[in-house]
């Protein structure tokens, strides 16, 4: 019998495992554990590789797997997850967790590290203002933030955004900004007072991306391979921590198992899983069960265990808008081929006009294929190639996230045939937000128009939460107490996004990890008692 059995190797599951290991307890972690098809194959910059090699295998795939969306009328996977060598992150999802959805793209992962194997690595501290409607406060999570910063290696700066992100004394220096980002930094510095008066703050992002080497991992080489090559050592993945714990014999890892349900026998929990491939059923006994299969995966497990096909659970995801901004003075410039291909800057919009704080990430567009922009440009095909060549070096994209709570949650339920069904509610985004953002960027010398703003399809922010929310005083099934223990299910704990009853506009990954560690601490104390 295991003392603790964790389901899922994403950020939450591995953070819980890390805390158990810190406290001298060896948990067993179970997951399907799909692995990448390759690692570290390309050792040079994306653009020098493309210049010298046929990049068909890298960008399209021998079986055209990178172009699957082109055969579909409504593409349902973000570009990064469609790339041939990163597709493994979401492969077999329909097989292991059949899902039908209406207006909501449900993206699930069954690989080692979960969706964090293809993430943007944004790691921000949830503070009290982010924890409204939570039965916990910043001080409950604070002890774990520094431990995580040291474990992960987070780059960033204590700057104008510190009051929103929290002070962090253990940050690595921020990554080198791109030319477009540098332009924004300079303009922001000149107009800081006016912009701050309107509630606009800009600063460096907090990223799980190394600017200095750490534990044998290389610093960011600005290779632009973020969209293409799995296992880049400068980007943190929970797999790194998991492998270290396994090597140090602080974690038992059982892969190739798809957990289906649990039952009880005497004081033990019996977890039933199916072996991947053979389909045989395996039973594992444990004292404490920790669900970290993601907000969708953990909800499925609970619904399956309870054989409940009636209950509809809330499923939250941050609504998001994408703004493409052009710097006219950079049109026709040489493409900057050694920029970091993900988040360059963060923006916080804290205006009294809106109830909640909005947060955005300014993304450089050097990592995706150039063809990815072809259908976004409005000109004739041959002229769109001109835009790709001359306009893309001048382009930066703002991905603006909005908060989510029960009022704009999708509904998730289990059907009789064992599939999940997710029904979205349409977001109502205040058009004033779009106008304000366009106006503030004009001040920064970047231009766009309302017609170019894209509403990100529901579900594609992939910040899923709220299916099994924590409450101060839970009195109904499918809710947890403040320590993540599921109501009516003693010794079953939930540590992933399921327990977050609301999402601020801030990326929640670091808060998830800190909360998972907090629950792990509670479990250790409970076991000692």
């Amino acid at each position: 019998m295991y003392d603790v059995l964790i389901v899922g190797s994403g950020v939450s599951g591995v953070a819980a495992a890390l805390r158990f290991a810190d406290r001298g307890l060896i948990p067993c972690l179970v997951d399907v554990g799909l692995e990448p098809p390759c690692e570290d194959i390309i050792q040079e910059n994306l653009y020098s590789y493309r210049k010298n090699h046929d990049s068909f295998a890298l960008m399209i795939g021998e079986n055209f797997e990178g172009l699957v969306d082109l055969g579909q009328k409504s593409p349902s996977v973000p570009a990064k997850l469609a790339s041939p060598w990163i597709r493994y992150v979401t492969s077999h999802a329909q097989e292991y967790s059949p899902t039908q959805s209406s207006g909501f793209d449900v993206i699930q992962s069954f690989c080692q590290g979960g969706l964090a194997s293809a993430w943007g690595a944004g790691l921000y501290r949830y503070l009290d203002r982010d924890l409204e409607n939570f039965p916990i406060e910043t001080q409950d999570l604070a002890p774990y933030y520094d431990r995580l910063t040291k474990e992960i290696g987070i780059s960033g700066a204590n700057d104008d955004l510190t009051s929103y992100f929290g002070r962090d004394e253990f940050l690595q220096k921020p990554l080198k900004p791109s030319l477009n980002a540098s332009r924004i930094i300079r303009r922001y510095a000149k107009k800081r007072e006016k912009l701050n008066a309107k509630g606009v703050y800009i600063g460096r992002p907090r990223l799980g991306v190394l600017s200095d080497g750490k534990d044998g991992r290389k610093p960011c080489g600005y290779s632009n391979l973020e969209f293409w090559q799995p296992g880049l050592s400068h980007i943190y993945s929970p797999v790194l921590t998991m492998k270290r714990l396994i090597k140090e014999q602080k974690l038992i890892y059982r892969e190739g198992l798809l957990v289906k349900s649990w039952s009880r026998k005497d004081s033990a929990l019996i977890v039933r899983a199916q072996t991947v491939g053979k389909g045989e059923m395996v039973d594992m006994a444990c004292k404490k069960l920790v669900l970290a299969a993601g907000a969708v995966g953990s909800a499925r497990l609970v619904l399956q265990t309870k054989k409940d096909t009636r209950t509809e659970l809330d499923l939250l995801d941050n609504p998001a808008l994408q703004f493409p901004f052009v710097f006219p003075s950079r049109i026709g410039a040489r493409l900057e081929t050694d920029a970091f291909g993900l988040t360059q800057l963060n923006l916080v919009y804290d205006s009294q006009k809106f109830e909640k704080i909005l947060q955005g990430s300014l993304l450089e567009v050097t990592s995706p294929s150039r063809s990815e922009f072809f259908h976004h440009f409005p000109w004739a095909a041959h002229d769109n190639l001109r835009l790709i060549r001359h306009m893309l070096p001048a382009l930066i994209v703002l991905q603006l996230f909005l908060p989510a709570d029960a009022s704009n949650a999708a509904k998730l339920s289990l059907k009789e045939d064992g599939s999940l069904h997710v029904q979205a509610v349409k977001d109502r985004i205040d058009p004033e937000i779009i106008k304000d953002i366009l106006k503030m960027f004009r001040r920064l010398g970047a231009f766009s128009s309302v017609s170019r703003v894209v509403h990100v399809p529901k579900g594609q922010s992939i910040h899923y939460a709220g299916t099994l929310p924590m409450r101060a005083d839970p009195r109904e099934s499918f809710t947890c107490d403040r320590n993540g223990e599921l109501y009516g299910e003693p010794n079953v704990f939930v540590v992933d996004g399921s327990v977050f009853p609301a999402l601020s506009a801030k990326n929640y990954s670091l808060a998830l990890m800190a909360n998972a560690m907090r629950t792990a601490d509670f479990i250790v104390e409970k076991m000692r008692d």
Binding site: M59, L70, G332, S369, A380, A381, D383
Partner: protein, 148 residues
């Protein structure tokens, strides 16, 4: 395998006399204003067979008919894209652009490594005027194809 066979059968059944080779040549020329390389043509051919498709037999037939009757595919694709029509034509254009980008010989088409800004502005000014003409022509073609 079923999808591959279905896709091949679909092409044979359209019965318009347009071969996959003709299709690739014409789409490539419409986008890049030059002849297609054998490698891209072969990959296009294989992609059409291998990429699972949501498009119906009717849509495939209409697409083949367009290839047979319309000479300026670029203009038609522009108008279709602007009006959210003919998704198969748009998807095939996108497919061709992705395939072309993977070849080292085409990198200069997609990546500006010279940084000559004035030529960039001139190119874009010419492109905007050209797009305007193509759009007008495309709208006319789209109406005509609609009538067919």
């Amino acid at each position: 395998l079923d999808k591959i066979v279905a896709s091949r059968n679909m092409k044979e059944r359209t019965g318009t006399g347009i071969t996959a080779q003709d299709e690739a040549d014409r789409i490539y020329r419409a986008i890049f204003r030059k002849s297609i390389s054998p490698k891209v043509r072969d990959r296009y051919h294989r992609a059409v067979d291998l990429v699972p498709s949501d498009f119906s037999l009717e849509e495939n037939r209409a697409f083949a008919e367009v290839l047979r009757t319309v000479s300026d595919l670029e203009a038609l694709e522009l108008a279709a894209r602007r009006q959210n029509k003919m998704p198969l034509l748009i998807a095939r254009f996108r497919l061709m652009v992705h395939l072309a980008e993977s070849l080292p010989a085409n990198q200069h088409v997609f990546i500006n490594s010279s940084g000559r800004r004035m030529s960039g502005y001139i190119s874009l000014a010419f492109g905007s005027a050209r797009t305007l003409c193509k759009h007008l022509k495309g709208r006319f073609l789209l109406r005509r194809v609609g009538d067919v």
